[in-house]
Amino acid sequence: MKYMMFVCTDPEPDSDHANHPDVEVWVTENDAAGRRLQGAQLAPASAATTVRVRNGQLLLSDGPFAEVKEMIVGFDLLECADLDEAIEVARAHPMAWAGRIELRPFADFEQ
């Protein structure tokens, strides 16, 4: 089962930085276990461009499509047996502490 892990900022992070896990360790471990298929950090939202087509016309706008306090700053594509395994992977990521993480399953059209 594939889960997209959106890594986001959060206005109220966990304050005890000393306890935050190390991201390099997280990547190495999950790559080795085959649970992380790929992932990357993203450029800041100020570099985003939003693209729409309406009545056949291209509409471009600067910035992300939603003005929210929580911004996506990275992603990781996970392969996990089920949601509980994905939650275990996500909770060990430093941004679960310093920000927040959204786990979104890939749509399964077999069902």
Partner: protein
């Protein structure tokens, strides 16, 4: 066929369903992964039993009969949908175990526990967890759940459908967590069961699902006997529920604890609750709440209540699970244990954060403490203010009575 036959058969169906229904649903979900199909098939088995048993007599193994009928319906549906052979084979095996007098209990037991943990999964919204537990494990009709939670039936149907869709789409596992994960997830399950007990009130203020909550908690205790907080929750529910018959007078008004007829309290439930509490080495929040309930339940009269012990228990509870409501109840206990002046000091501490501002119960507590200090006028004022903010009729009448009683 006579009406008594029909009534006897209906009783037999109900008696069998209490235990068998969740087992059947749980086993069918495990094999098919399809919650709706499992529920529909189990429901249909119950309907078939209501139809057949009055004429044919109650079968020798009623639970096995229901399992076989439900399983056959699942097989029919899946054959039509030409599902893979593996599931069909597993279902065939299920029918064999169900038909024998002693089914594979270990497996069935695990199934129900799996079902409880999946219904109470923290990735589901809390209202959905409570509703799903009632619907799937207790077989409460959607309309009844909707009525108690003050939403329309279609809203409740949508809520349940969305929860089941998330279980499938996000692949929430159908599994009992093991080791440290069990300890981490158990409080969430206990919270759902406690919510079932306390939150789902009928219009008349009675907890609508108290019996279901107690039955499920009892089951959970049997399934995870090594978890003391599960036993503590069962004790708490039994002790609170023991007062059930004494809570109202002939006018249907709520009777406060100190004026209840203690001879109407359920002694068996109290004895079981107290027994369950004996020997829990490191009491958790439910254990302290249950100990407080036990102090009340075992006091021969309101005057002989051991308030100092209750105040001690609240100290422990406030340490483990600090909350404005716990702090408020702690102030009440101190007021009875050490006099209204001490109670008012504790109340001032509890109120200092502002979380209790305008909370009717906090106003009523202050009013009670002031009344006992002899400040009847200010007390009556506060009782009226509390009544004005209280939605329940019976509770409001009780507060207005206090305002008039000085």
């Amino acid at each position: 066929m006579t009406d008594p036959d029909r009534a006897a058969a209906a009783d037999a169906v109900a008696a069998t369903a209490v235990d068998a229904y969740p087992k059947i649903v749980a086993a069918l979900i495990r094999i098919t992964g399809d919650w709706t199909l499992a529920e529909d098939s189990a429901q249909e088995a119950l309907l078939r039993a209501l139809d057949r048993w009055p004429a044919d007599g109650v079968p020798a193994n009623p639970a096995g009969w229901l399992m076989t009928v439900a399983r056959n319906r699942v097989l029919d549906v899946l054959r039509r949908a030409s599902v893979e052979r593996r599931k069909l084979r597993e279902l065939a095996v299920l029918a064999v175990t169900a038909a024998t007098a002693e089914p594979a209990w270990e497996e069935v037991t695990d199934d129900r526990l799996r079902l409880i943990f999946t219904c109470c999964h923290p990735a589901l919204p809390i209202e959905a967890r409570v509703a799903l537990t009632l619907r799937t494990i207790c077989a409460v009709p959607t309309a009844d759940i909707a009525r108690v939670f003050l939403v329309t039936e279609s809203t409740m149907t949508r809520r349940l459908t969305r929860a089941k869709a998330k279980i499938a789409a996000a692949r929430i596992p159908y599994r009992v967590p093991q080791g440290p994960a069990l300890t981490e997830r158990l409080p969430g399950v206990l919270a759902v069961l406690y919510l079932l007990f306390t939150q789902g009130y009928d219009a008349d203020g009675e907890p609508a699902f108290a019996d279901e909550a107690i039955r499920l908690t009892r089951l959970l205790v049997r399934l995870v006997p090594e978890q003391p907080e599960a036993s503590a929750l069962l004790a708490l529910l039994l002790l609170q529920h023991s007062r059930h018959a004494a809570r109202r007078d002939d006018n249907d008004d709520l009777v406060p604890l100190d004026r209840q007829d203690r001879s109407r309290w359920d002694r068996d439930a109290i004895a079981e609750g107290v027994r369950l509490l004996a020997g829990s080495p490191q009491p958790g929040p439910y254990a302290w709440q249950a100990r407080i309930a036990a102090c009340h339940a075992t006091a021969p009269s309101a005057e002989e209540t051991d308030w100092r012990r209750i105040a001690d228990c609240y100290d422990q509870l406030a340490r483990l699970q600090p909350s404005p409501v716990v702090a408020l109840n702690r102030a009440v206990a101190y007021g009875y244990a050490y006099g209204p002046a001490v109670g008012l000091t504790r109340l001032a501490e509890a109120s200092s954060g502002g979380a209790l501002d305008g909370y009717p119960l906090a106003l009523a507590v202050e009013a009670d403490l002031l009344a006992r200090q002899g400040n009847g006028e200010r007390a009556a004022e506060l009782f009226r203010a509390a009544a004005a903010r209280t939605p329940g009729d019976a509770e409001r009448r009780a507060l207005l009575d206090r305002a008039a009683a000085r």
